[in-house]
């Protein structure tokens, strides 16, 4: 995988930048005369709106706290009656959303109808659509071709009014969507300047939307990324039934068949298609359908080459592109060679919740429980980012949670994230940042179970808390526990003892 530093075009920088540029200079004699845009362009501008989000970002270090109040600016556009499309990251964790029409000072309260974090898209509506009536919804067009020209319109930093930049389509690729830090979909790279605030804005070609501007690359100039029409259309189709069901995945790891010895072993000629199935995710859609060491030669009838690519519309794209456009419940035909024999298999796509371990979560409050000054939190991407875990076992569990099937045993991997010092725990050290293995001999499977074991009806003489990789357990005398819990909550200002 190519490693890149991607940045979202909306962040604290917008918040800083917006007020400083508020003293907008009105056009006067000293500035060049404003060119009056064509009536057609005026129409388009009207459909492109400025979105102002006030956010509350949860605090994963001190989960009982309300979190950080912040905000930012992004762009959106009308795609139908009271339907505004934008990026998920523009409106994530939002507590208040305001939409401003081009050329109007009025702010219209809005809310999220659907949000898809995995493909960084969201659909909004305003409380009162009447001021927007008569504006032409933008149409979603087709995939733009390489080297063709596009326009990016939005409300980026550096001014208050609408901004237009131009560029060409530089690359079409399967690439990371940095919003969740775990998703990869089709991405179109353009060389137009995309800046913070452009996020969620339309990229236009011949008056049609050919992309939603969403991220850039810090380490290179003139590289902007947009979400192309297939991804936008899939999102709009997915929500037709009233709910967003997320992307589904085949759940296999493929390995390119470049090595001649490897090809010889699997009996593949020099030009024979096929990629190696390196591993199959336990409990995933292909578990029981494919096996490691199968050669996948075609997916839904499209030949898969040695690198795992297929041909769609004349372009070589990753074979996952077939699955990308499908939904939960859809069937995928897989032609394979197993032990030299050709077989035709079918996999039924289905959601795979454990994969959420790796996706940044938005709009949810962190789960936790406290006990005698000990703070327990389930491991996920948010927690991992908030605490820098140095314990090798915790890091390893996180890395192998799916491929080693750890999720089957442990719905949550619960981490002791903090010890708030109190007479009852003051001599405990070295346990923070480890995973909880058992409490009073009972193996830990999820956070709720920890909470129940630590707050039983019949109080044991001792609570024996065993941390993974540390032989010496944490001992809390049963008779002191409740009082210590109360005392630490009071002393450390913990307003909420648990959220399961």
């Amino acid at each position: 995988m190519i490693s890149k530093t991607l940045f979202l075009l909306l962040g604290s920088i917008c918040l800083i930048a917006t007020p400083t540029t508020y003293a907008q200079r009105l056009p006067d004699d000293t500035t060049a005369p404003i060119k009056v845009a064509t009536p057609h362009a005026q129409n388009i501008y009207g459909s492109i709106v400025r979105i102002e989000a006030a956010t509350q970002v949860p605090n994963y270090r001190e989960p009982w706290k309300a979190g950080q109040f912040s905000g930012g600016i992004g762009t959106g556009f009308i795609i139908g009656h009271n339907r505004f499309l934008t990026n998920a990251h523009v409106v994530s964790n939002a507590r208040r959303l305001l939409i401003t029409k081009h050329g109007s000072p009025q702010k219209h309260p809005a809310k999220i109808i659907h949000i898809a974090h995995d493909c960084d898209l969201a659909l909004l509506e305003v409380e009162d659509f009447s001021p927007f009536e008569g504006l032409k919804p933008l149409e979603i067009g087709l995939m733009p071709k390489l080297e063709t020209q596009v326009r990016v319109i939005g409300y980026p930093v550096g001014g208050n009014r609408i901004s237009v930049t131009r560029g060409v389509v530089s690359r079409i690729d399967f690439n990371s969507y940095s919003h969740t830090r775990s998703d990869q979909h089709l991405v179109v790279q353009i060389d137009a300047a995309i800046n913070p605030g452009n996020s969620g804005g339309p990229v236009l070609q011949n008056g049609q939307v050919v992309g939603v501007a969403f991220q850039g690359l810090r380490s290179a100039d003139n590289t902007g990324y947009m979400i192309p029409p297939p991804v936008i259309k899939r999102f709009l189709k997915d929500i037709e039934d009233g709910s967003y069901d997320k992307y589904v995945d085949l759940g296999i790891t493929e390995f390119a068949m470049f090595n001649p010895a490897m090809r010889k072993k699997f009996g593949l000629g020099r030009t024979t298609p096929g990629v190696l199935v390196a591993s199959v995710t336990p409990d995933g859609p292909c578990d029981g359908v494919l096996l490691a060491n199968d050669i996948l030669i075609a997916i839904n009838g499209k030949a898969v080459d040695a690198a795992g690519n297929i041909l769609i519309g004349g372009e070589k794209v990753n074979m996952n592109e077939v699955v990308e456009r499908k939904f939960s419940g859809d069937l995928i035909k897989l032609d394979i060679i197993r032990d030299g024999k050709k077989l035709n298999k079918t996999a039924t796509l289905k959601p795979f919740p454990p994969i959420q371990m790796y996706a940044v979560q938005y709009g949810v409050q962190p789960r936790f429980t406290t006990f005698s000054g000990l703070v327990f939190q389930p491991l996920d991407r948010n927690l991992y980012a908030a605490h820098s875990f140095s314990n090798t076992r915790v890091r390893r569990i996180f890395a192998h949670y799916i491929d080693e099937g750890i999720f089957k045993e442990r719905e949550d991997v619960v981490i002791l994230t903090r010890i708030l010092e109190d007479p009852v725990n003051t001599h405990v050290s070295g346990h923070v940042g480890t995973a909880i293995e058992s409490i009073n001999g009972v193996k830990i499977k999820n956070l709720k179970q920890i909470h129940e074991l630590l707050h039983p009806n019949k109080i044991p003489k001792f609570f024996v808390i065993k941390c993974e990789g540390i032989e010496r357990p944490i001992i809390i005398p049963g008779e002191n526990a409740a009082e210590a819990s109360k005392r630490t909550q009071m002393n450390y200002g913990i307003s909420l003892s648990h959220r399961l």
Partner: protein
């Protein structure tokens, strides 16, 4: 010694009349050290130099710290005046206790040692004793600094995790040449070797004579064994809740046994994980692991095992198990071989190059080569082996892993593979590099080598036997001097 250069305080205790004894007992040691490259195990890294002062011992031998001889490519002895030099070799070295004994290697030994005479090793010092640190100026003029013994403690000065009796002495020292380690003298006899100096606190660490005496006694028969170990991991019992759970009465201290190594003296004595050790050889061990030494006061329990005894000695361990007192007897020995060696001084890395793949045996040295933040930067799966070797031990002497793939016609498509633990090659279990070399001698009838990883995507890959042999030949021509070291 790590003397910082910003030290500019004048020393008022320089006395020139001591010139004669200093020159009689001290030689400069000039060492050229060279480590092996972690990523290209056939190469040595760039050499570095260290200079220190050693002291004369009987039989024309020189005592210094192990730091001066570990990974040394060349050691030279030079007299105080700098008018005679002679190459030296290592007679015995202990990386754990940080001691080395050197002898002249070829050359005019008698001539070099003619003006020198052995120094006697003295007994221990008391807290408050004033002792002298010997240094030499460039021109051979002695520099003698008086320091005051402040405390005795168990300190690790070279190989990580090995703690030995060390004095901490206070006194302001100055930087001079050949000061990486220095002799410390009391009443004309050797007290110990200075292993480090902290210029901020003006504290020096001095390795104690008891440890030097044990080292020298061990060397005597020509077969150096090393310091013994009990083979346990412990945790303190300060926490009153933990003590209540362990049913420890208030009048005992004790240390909680968290780990008992396989085949260790502790295991053979019957010590179990979860026991609380309350006495060693009748000396009561406190809650933090300290006992009261007649001479030095509070010392950490490990000195009662490693610092006082030698291999083969018996040690009595009193434990509390489920509140019951038990006395166990351990016969001390050297620690057993580890799956992942903790240090590899003077040992070249074992490796095999096959078709461009570089296979190595995992060592802590390899992981530490990832830099200062190696504990977070080194490959996670390999770090886990270091942390939890018990989970990987079955059927292995060492962990063999693929450390890198040089792009060659044989490794096409495998270029990004690295840090993968090897389970089997050509159907044979891989226990170490020799077994890997042997396994590669028998490719399948289809002319392919089968390499199975313990964990990987994919788990099994193939390598063309004849292409990789051809590639090996080319690699030799391109300057890789050897393809394996077993």
């Amino acid at each position: 010694m790590k003397i910082s250069l910003f030290l500019t305080i004048f020393i008022t205790t320089i006395t020139s009349h001591a010139a004669a004894p200093v020159q009689k007992h001290v030689v400069r040691i000039n060492s050229t050290l060279q480590k092996w490259s972690a990523s290209q195990p056939w190469d040595k890294s760039a050499p570095s130099k260290r200079r220190a002062l050693g002291v004369t011992m009987p039989n024309n031998q020189i005592l210094t710290t192990a730091e001066m001889a570990a990974d040394a490519t060349y050691i030279e002895l030079e007299n105080a005046d700098g008018n005679r030099t002679i190459p030296a070799k290592v007679v015995a070295i202990d990386y754990e206790a940080n001691l080395a004994l050197l002898a002249a290697d070829n050359g005019d030994t008698d001539g070099f040692f003619k003006t020198l005479s052995p120094i006697k090793l003295g007994g221990g010092a008391k807290i408050g004793d004033k002792v002298s640190v010997w240094q030499l100026e460039d021109n051979g003029v002695p520099l003698i600094t008086e320091v005051t013994i402040q405390s005795a403690d168990i300190v690790s000065s070279f190989a990580q995790g090995h703690y030995f009796l060390t004095y901490e002495a206070k006194g302001s020292m100055q930087s001079a040449s050949s000061s990486y380690s220095l002799p410390v003298i009391k009443d004309g006899k050797l007290l110990g070797l200075l292993t480090s100096y902290n210029s901020k606190d003006q504290i020096t660490d001095v390795l104690a004579p008891e440890i030097i005496a044990a080292f020298l006694a061990d060397v005597k028969d020509g077969n150096y064994v090393g310091f013994p170990s009990l083979g346990i991991g412990v945790s303190n019992t300060v926490d009153p809740n933990f003590r209540a759970w362990l049913k420890l009465p208030d009048d005992v201290g004790g240390i909680y046994v968290t780990h008992v190594r396989k085949d260790s003296p502790a295991e053979k004595s019957g010590t179990l994980k979860g026991d609380v050790i309350i006495e060693i050889d009748g000396k009561e061990i406190g809650r933090r692991g300290y006992y009261t030494d007649a001479q030095y006061g509070k010392l950490f329990w490990s000195h009662q095992v490693r610092g006082i005894h030698k291999v083969g000695d018996q040690v009595e361990i009193t434990i509390l198990r489920e509140g019951q007192r038990k006395i166990l007897t351990a016969i001390l020995k050297r620690p057993g071989k580890r799956l992942v060696p903790a240090y590899t001084y003077d040992t070249a890395p074992k490796f095999l190059v096959k078709g461009g793949f570089i296979f190595q045996e995992l060592t802590a040295t390899y992981l530490k080569a990832f830099g200062k933040d190696w504990q977070s930067k080194a490959p996670l799966d390999l770090l886990d082996v270091l942390r939890s070797p018990d989970d990987y031990e079955a059927g292995r002497n060492r962990i063999v892993f693929l450390s890198a793939a040089v792009p060659t016609p044989a490794t096409t498509g495998y270029e990004r593979m690295r840090n993968l633990i090897i389970a089997k090659v050509n159907g044979k279990d891989i226990a170490d590099i020799p077994s890997l070399v042997k396994a590669f001698q028998a490719p399948g009838s289809d002319g392919l080598h089968t390499i199975e990883f313990a964990d990987g995507n994919p788990k099994t890959i193939y390598l063309d036997a004849s292409v990789s042999d051809m590639v090996d030949g080319q690699l030799l021509k391109r300057g890789i001097p050897i393809l394996s070291r077993e």
